[in-house]
Symmetry: C2
Subunit: 190 residues, 2 copies
Amino acid sequence: MPRQVDHDERRREIAAAVLRLVTTRGVEAASLRSVAAEAGVSMGAVQHYFTTKDEMLLFALAHGNTLLAERGTRLAAERKPGTPRETFRLFCTLLLPLDDDSRTAARLWAGLISRACIDEPTRTLAAMAYANLTDFVVRQLRDALPGTDPTQAARHLVSVIEGLRWPLLFGVYTEQHAMDILDAQLDLIF
Amino acid sequence: MPRQVDHDERRREIAAAVLRLVTTRGVEAASLRSVAAEAGVSMGAVQHYFTTKDEMLLFALAHGNTLLAERGTRLAAERKPGTPRETFRLFCTLLLPLDDDSRTAARLWAGLISRACIDEPTRTLAAMAYANLTDFVVRQLRDALPGTDPTQAARHLVSVIEGLRWPLLFGVYTEQHAMDILDAQLDLIF
């Protein structure tokens, strides 16, 4: 029986393979077979680590988000934002599809949303992902603005970030448009 | 050669068949074959009216949106909103997935977004749909608030409505949450 650290490491390797496939060939290409080939493991091994394709996709998305959060922490340490608002703005920016990593995350998310519309377990997972994102923003806002109830502000901000995703990804809105809207939204909060 | 009115009517009948399929079996079920069966026409007839599956899906979405807009006009005539803000709020509400028709439209949209991430022609169509929606909101706001440039406000509002779609559809946010956020957004504009 493998140690837990190996188990987690193997799941992350498979998630990285999923992200590579999604980037190059779209979320539909991330079948058990092609993920196994990309990760250099057997299909049985993939199935050992992930019960369903949706679980694999959602873990890959979460893994991508973890990488983004780590990047946020690194960037925050480098750039030393002077105010809670600037720190928070940096994290929001990382959630928008403005570079390759976050565009990959957006593509994965599009595939999951589409599946969630016709498949009940995927809907449950997608709902959980939205609830987790909202809770994360609530906690961040509570740290930045002690003594307030930031729940509605968090939902509002999550909606704006979510809604900017596709017009940005498809080139309808520019990065400047998105940042102007994000700043208008932060003006409401801070 | 059929008259134009027959051509348009036939396209709408096929679009209605697409919407019925998407509601009951998901966007993936809307193949040329199943749409032809649902509409009671031949596959050749569907291909006569729509060159690609994406064109058919986007026309069905536009058709659904036209039905929603007609419903908005009817509701506005019935309810007689007293202010431009109330009229505008009514239209925004219809864009949110709060009843069967708008939930169907949201499911179709999810399918198109997902395809747009891996297919260039679909991306072009999706980009056009976002640009059209934004232009529509710009025109509405310009009528409601003459003398202002509502472009950024329109993009911001479109982002909020887009971003509320999935948490609402998946039951993470309630209708009341969505209306509170919409009202906060309208406070920014009016």
